[in-house]
């Protein structure tokens, strides 16, 4: 039986284009964690996040023949995952706005983790997740790409199609907020 994990991305894509499902499955295994970081960072640990993660790979599968390899596959998948997550955040906001007034919506959207819980909770992951979800949607992708996914500022700007200056200023504002939320954790 062929060992697909030893093949590089382009070789696996070549195989997948020929209809080899095991090659595509190997790509999913290889990039699952990276896509999970992006999607779960953007949306939190919700059922929709799993769905968006799946959809990311389905979209990639549908565009297998269009993938030229100009950027790395990881970056390509991250771009799909970010766009789908941003759409999901917009959808959530729309559906929430049907039930809540603008003021309540603002309060809900930017709800901060309770400092008491931050102090008591031992689950750093949960605290970080809550802190991320407390960021305004426009700040979240910058933090996810730069701090979670470890992309450079330039790569982050390219993925989000934003000027580098905007990425830097959003990152600075987001970090100021995260620092105050996670104060106890980073002491």
């Amino acid at each position: 039986m062929k060992d697909y994990s030893s093949l590089n991305d382009l070789e696996l894509i070549g195989e997948a284009r020929k209809g080899n499902e095991r090659a595509f499955a190997a790509l999913i295994t290889r990039y699952e964690q990276q896509v999970a970081k992006t999607v779960l960072g953007m949306l939190g640990n919700t059922p929709e996040a799993d769905d968006i993660g799946q959809e990311t790979f389905v979209r990639f599968y549908q565009s297998l023949h269009n993938f030229r390899g100009d950027s790395g596959l990881g970056t390509y998948l991250t771009r799909i995952a970010i766009n789908l997550s941003l759409n999901e955040l917009k959808r959530r906001k729309r559906s929430l706005s049907l039930f809540f007034s603008a003021n309540i919506l603002e309060a809900k959207e930017f709800d901060q983790p309770d400092p008491e819980n931050v102090e008591d909770s031992r689950d750093t992951k949960e605290i970080v997740q809550k802190a991320l979800q407390s960021l305004e949607p426009k700040f979240r992708p910058v933090v996810v790409l730069r701090l979670l996914d470890q992309y450079s500022t330039k790569e982050t700007a390219e993925i989000l199609d934003l000027p580098t200056g905007t990425v830097l200023s959003r990152l600075a504002r987001a970090q100021t907020k995260l620092k105050s939320i996670l104060d106890k954790l980073i002491q």
Binding site: E32, L171, L178
Partner: protein, 139 residues
């Protein structure tokens, strides 16, 4: 204000190459200010906390994606088959319709000897008066 500027410079140092002047300025202030050193430590810790996070989807993620792809592909095949069958049925109906029209035209020509409007409607024997009395006969 000065502090804010220095803090911005500190943050910038994590994400961008500083100019030699900026770097010199930051190093100088860092060596003098406990407050800024503490901020730097916090920022480093913050980044460490984020970069060390591990995220995974629920187990069997790969199978769920492959199932979805299979469904999508099967759906496309069914859709394609439906369109193909519809075209096939439509083609048969269209051919039968054309054949029926041709037979009708031939039978009209044989019985009436022309393709005039009267031959089609079969009312050539009616004059205007006859037609009015025919239409009003029930009243």
């Amino acid at each position: 204000m000065e502090n804010k500027k220095l803090l911005d410079l500190l943050m910038k140092s994590f994400d961008e190459e500083l100019s030699p002047d900026e770097r010199k300025q930051l190093e100088k202030v860092l060596s003098e200010s406990d407050e800024l050193r503490s901020e730097k430590k916090k920022l480093l810790k913050l980044r460490e906390v984020f970069s060390s996070q591990e995220y995974r989807f629920k187990p069997f993620f790969e199978s769920r994606v492959m199932n979805r792809i299979h469904k999508l592909r099967n759906g496309k095949i069914i859709e394609f088959d439906f369109a193909k069958n519809l075209f096939f049925v439509f083609k048969r109906v269209a051919i039968s319709g054309i054949a029926a029209i041709l037979i009708l035209l031939i039978s009209i020509y044989i019985s009436e000897g022309s393709f005039s409007l009267d031959a089609f409607t079969g009312v050539e024997s009616f004059s205007d008066d006859n037609l009015i009395s025919y239409l009003l006969s029930d009243f």
